[in-house]
């Protein structure tokens, strides 16, 4: 299972990076979202796979998952939303100012920018 999950996380990261390098802003937003999935998963998996119970400190509870990475990832997910929202606003503003959704603010003459 460890190998398959690692490959899935790697694939998320690869897809995220590829989209991050696209020239259109919406692709970049998608890529950033995918990349944040991958990074959140990576941090979360720092608590390993073997846990069987949610991190509730109940009497007699065993096999708790690690709460610390979960707390870190929880705020990261919410902040990720804040970042996406800000990026979207930036993209719309940039489109209003430059008239394009190209990340460099202008359509490259040779389409390779």
């Amino acid at each position: 299972m460890a190998l398959v999950i690692s490959m899935a996380v790697g694939l998320l990261a690869a897809c995220g990076i590829y989209l991050l390098l696209r020239p259109r802003i919406f692709s970049v937003i998608l890529g950033l979202t995918l990349l944040s999935y991958a990074v959140n998963a990576l941090i979360f998996l720092g608590g390993r796979l073997g846990a069987t119970a949610a991190p509730l400190a109940l009497p007699g509870a065993r096999g708790l998952s690690d709460p610390l990475p979960q707390a870190l990832v929880l705020t990261a997910i919410v902040i990720g939303f804040g970042m996406t929202a800000y990026l979207v606003a930036l993209a719309l503003r940039a489109r209003a100012e430059t008239g394009t959704d190209h990340v460099d603010g202008a359509d490259g003459p040779e389409g390779e920018r």
Binding site: M1, V9, A14, I17, L42, F44, L56, L64, E112
Partner: protein, 939 residues
């Protein structure tokens, strides 16, 4: 008292410099008098300290500056420092006076004197520094201020090039010196000169000694224009003559040999020192003297002569014997005096005759006998004519070359012969200076009929030539004391007994002097042979031209490198950055085998459900990439991936994360759908195949790296550091949900920062979108022509709102003990409110939900901070929580922790953020710009 006197001496020029700019607003001469007053005042302040220093005392004053970096403002006045202070301030005073007459009347002198004073301050700092780092700082001050002084006539290209060259060479040397000093301080264990000087043995025995020596010498040689770093000095003759007289005879170029003298006790006395310092000095001595002869420009001749004499001083330090060091210090004094007077005289000749080209002048003695006589005396000192000061130090030099301990047998003749050769060349160019300027026929095309300068202008030469004579005739009386004190500082201990006398009797050095004089005159007589030979054998570009070529090439290279690196494109930057990170990662992994990734832990069985979930995740991510040019379908695939990530959190026992991810997923998708209205529905394929392949390779490698890292981590055992959090969650935080307790209690301050960031992001969006008018993208119905609101949905949503709010309250309240809490409750509330907008339209929802979300953000942050501050009332640190049990009537008993107040703040901020973002985006449809006409290309 001593300390403040030293500080006053050092600060006077720096404080005086800006005052010059004010003074020049008055009369032209005010600035001159001001600068002279500063120099004289500094000399006067120094005067009471002189007897103590001459008695052998080393005065040290210290003020802490950056003690943790070993950087103090620490000043030191010993014999060497005093000697240089005297040269800097004394000759500075004369130059200030001279410049007032020399510079054209239309020049406002404030700028000149301000720069000159700043330079003098830098020089004083170099010679007074006790801390080595401070020395380097002032070293750079001299480089910078000399750059400005050389570029004084900045309208002339020649001056700009010369200034740039001087800065490049001496600034580069300064960097090397900084590195050398840092190493030296590490090795010696201190940057304080008093301590470093006492640890010469440690430094010389260290394996880093050759590196330190090389770097420090690079600094000294560039500053003192030693071969092959000499070219900037002749070019710097583009500066006005007062600058040349000051910087390029008496002070700046002497900073290099000062450094050699200063660090002599630490670095000298090794074979390497002798070979490098002695070798470079000897080469420069002869090379400079040879080239001086070939210069037609008066100042050029003097510049190369300066290079040669600096080489002589360097050679003397390189010889390594104690008397040679004494001779070196003595020659520093003598050279400063006669060379400054010669430069000033050259300036007078230029000023009165209108040219500096020796081929165009002659017979000037008839027109300016007084100046001529003075210049001839100074030139005699330069040549080493008896009865003048230059003769004495040159004879000491000759004496030191004879029977040097490091050379035996036939080689022992080599050094004296070389010394005589240098002497011959010196005599020859001095003879040329005297003969071609003052004697011979008067050419007809001299630009002006020359005459004697005003007496005040000549006064500096009078004073300096008087010193040449006095030192030459009464050396022991004039300089014996200061020379002894300075030599004691250089040798850091006992000075060999020496007596300075005009006459030492007939001996070998006198014979060598006589040979040099005779040889020099003969050589001058037959100079045309040399000129002819030189012209046909060595036609090469001037050093300035060569420097410019190198400079231009470097500039062009930098521009090309920038153009290659900086494509002015964000994806290109990102690709470069990713590539570099990958290279770093691969570098760290070099030599590793893929199998080594697997750790000792078992891989675990893959169950069917997890496998299916991962498959869906892969489909979601892959579909997003494949369809990324069609935003709407891509968004759907993205939400599939997000859903699977949420379920994955649930599968691996993280219900809080699953809830958060799920609700963030919902609001994110709505947000992106709203934004899509204003973005093209189909992006053109615009990346070439090569670019796509490059990106795919980068992405693939990056993904492999992440996968490898994850795999290596998952298969390795670990000791959780969360044990403390789990065991303290109930007794300390009053909640069983450890994740929530960590968020609102244990790491509450962290969460406070995070909600602040969240609020800032929302406010940023608010600011960016306020009043923004955008046309909807092509193919999107504009507002008003869309379909009516779906009735069923609207009817369903209205009663749902209170229900959803109750759920969110429940999630909030139970969050401390069971999955839930402020973040999740906030997201659920936001989704419930958002559904009202979706179902009823923005006008409907706005009319009913009159909430100012910006205020809500403020309220949330306020509540969170207030909860934190509340613990102060009870004398506890910020954000300390307490908890107790509440037993309300009719309801089950439940636990209430003060951290819940903080969680309420989190809740409010999350609701405010999400709703502010969504309503701002949604409201844009109400002020849309006109839709683009059909056929108009979409940006």
């Amino acid at each position: 008292m001593t300390a403040s006197l030293l500080l006053i001496v050092l600060l006077a020029p720096f404080l005086g410099a800006p005052a010059m700019l004010l003074l020049q607003r008055g009369h032209r001469r005010w600035a001159a008098w001001g600068a002279a007053a500063v120099m004289a005042a500094a000399l006067g302040v120094l005067a009471p300290l002189v007897p103590r220093v001459l008695a052998g005392e080393v005065l040290v004053a210290r003020w802490a500056w950056l003690p943790e970096w070993g950087l103090d403002v620490a000043l030191r006045l010993d014999g060497l420092g005093l000697l240089f202070c005297g040269l800097i301030l004394g000759i500075g005073l004369l130059v200030v006076l001279y410049a007032a007459y020399y510079l054209p009347d239309e020049d406002r002198l404030g700028r000149f004197y301000a720069m000159l004073l700043a330079f003098a301050g830098g020089m004083l700092g170099v010679v007074l520094a006790e801390n080595l780092l401070l020395l380097v700082v002032f070293w750079e001050v001299t480089s910078l201020s000399s750059f400005l002084l050389i570029a004084y006539k900045y309208e002339a290209r020649e001056a700009r090039v010369a200034a740039r060259m001087a800065l490049a060479v001496t600034g580069g040397g300064g960097l090397a010196l900084l590195a050398g000093v840092l190493l030296l301080g590490q090795v010696a264990g201190s940057f304080e000169l008093s301590e470093v000087l006492a640890r010469g043995d440690v430094v010389r025995a260290d394996p880093l000694y050759p590196v330190i020596l090389g770097l420090v010498l690079l600094g000294a040689f560039t500053k003192s224009a030693q071969f092959p770093f000499h070219a900037w000095l002749p070019a710097a003759m583009a500066a006005p003559t007062p600058v040349s007289a000051y910087l390029h005879s008496a002070t700046m170029v002497k900073a290099g040999v000062f450094l050699l003298a200063r660090l002599y006790p630490v670095l000298a006395d090794t074979g390497l020192w002798m070979v490098v310092v002695g070798g470079v000095g000897a080469l420069t001595f002869v090379y400079g003297a040879y080239l001086a002869m070939l210069k037609d420009d008066l100042k050029g001749l003097l510049a190369y002569s300066t290079i040669s004499h600096l080489g002589l001083v360097t050679l003397l330090f390189g010889l390594g014997t104690k008397m040679a060091a004494v001779a070196a210090v003595f020659h520093i004094i003598n050279h400063a005096i006669f060379k400054a007077s010669l430069f000033i005289a050259a300036g007078i000749i230029d000023h009165e005759a209108g040219t500096r080209d020796m081929r165009r002048m002659g017979g000037l003695f008839r027109f300016m006998p007084w100046t001529g006589a003075l210049a001839m005396v100074a030139a005699g000192a330069m040549a080493g004519v008896p009865l003048l000061n230059g003769f004495l130090s040159k004879e000491m030099f000759f004496a030191e070359t004879i029977g040097h301990p490091a050379l035996g047998g036939a080689a022992s003749y080599l050094l004296p012969a070389f010394a005589v050769l240098g002497g011959v060349l010196s005599v020859a160019y001095s003879a040329r200076f005297v003969h071609e300027v003052f004697f011979g026929a008067v050419p007809r095309d001299m630009p002006r009929t020359p005459h004697e300068p005003p007496p005040w202008m000549r006064l500096p030469v009078d004073v300096l030539v008087a010193l040449v004579l006095l030192v030459g005739l009464l050396p022991q009386v004039m300089v014996g004391a200061i020379l002894g004190a300075a030599a004691a500082a250089v040798l850091h201990g006992a000075v060999p007994p020496f007596t300075l006398a005009m006459w030492h009797g007939f001996n070998l050095p006198l014979l060598m002097s006589a040979a040099a004089l005779a040889g020099g005159l003969l050589y001058y007589r037959w100079r045309h042979v040399l000129f002819a030979l030189h012209a046909c054998l060595l036609p090469r570009p001037g050093s300035t031209v060569a420097f410019e070529r190198v400079y231009r090439a470097a500039e062009l290279g930098a521009i090309r490198a920038m153009a290659w690196l900086d494509r002015r494109s964000l994806p290109a930057y990102l690709a470069l950055f990713l590539g570099f990170v990958l290279v770093l990662g691969l570098w760290a992994w070099r030599g590793g085998a893929p199998a080594a990734l697997a750790g000792p832990l078992g891989w675990g069985e893959l169950d069917l459900l997890t496998g299916f979930g991962l498959l869906v995740l892969v489909v979601g991510a892959g579909g997003t990439v494949l369809l990324h040019r069609r935003p709407l379908p891509a968004l759907m695939f993205l939400s599939l991936a997000g859903l699977m990530v949420s379920l994955g959190f649930l599968r691996f026992a993280a219900p809080d994360l699953a809830l958060t991810q799920l609700s963030v997923e919902v609001v994110s998708i709505v947000l992106l759908l709203l934004a899509l209205r204003y973005l093209p529905q189909l992006a053109a394929a615009e990346s070439g195949a090569a670019r796509r392949w490059r990106d795919a390779v980068l992405a693939g490698l990056g993904g492999l790296g992440v996968a490898g890292l994850t795999f290596a981590m998952l298969t390795r055992p670990f000791e959780t550091i969360s044990g403390w959090q789990i065991s303290h969650s109930v007794p300390g935080g009053g909640g069983t949900n450890v994740v929530n307790v960590i968020l609102v209690d244990i790491r509450g301050f962290d969460t406070m920062g995070e909600i602040a960031v969240l609020a800032m992001a929302a406010l940023g969006l608010h600011a960016l979108l306020q009043g923004l008018r955008l046309p909807p993208a092509a193919g999107v119905a504009s507002a008003g022509e869309g379909e009516p609101m779906p009735v069923m949905l609207a009817m369903l949503m209205r009663p749902l709102l209170p229900l959803a709010l109750v759920v969110s309250v429940y999630i909030f309240l139970r969050g401390h003990n069971l999955p839930g809490g402020g973040f999740i409750a906030g997201l659920v509330t936001a989704i419930a409110l958002m559904l009202q907008y979706v179902a009823g339209g923005i006008d409907f929802a706005r009319a009913r939900l009159r909430v100012n979300y910006v205020r809500m953000l403020g309220a949330g942050l306020g509540v969170a901070v207030a909860t934190g501050l509340g613990s102060w009332v009870f004398g506890r640190p910020f954000l300390t929580s307490t908890h107790g049990y509440v037993d309300p009537p009719l309801l089950e008993k439940f636990e209430l922790a003060s951290a819940m107040g903080f969680d309420l703040g989190v809740y409010l901020v999350v609701v405010g953020t999400v709703m502010l973002c969504l309503t701002e985006l949604g409201a844009m449809s109400q002020r849309e710009a006109a839709a683009p006409r059909p056929g108009q290309a979409e940006g």
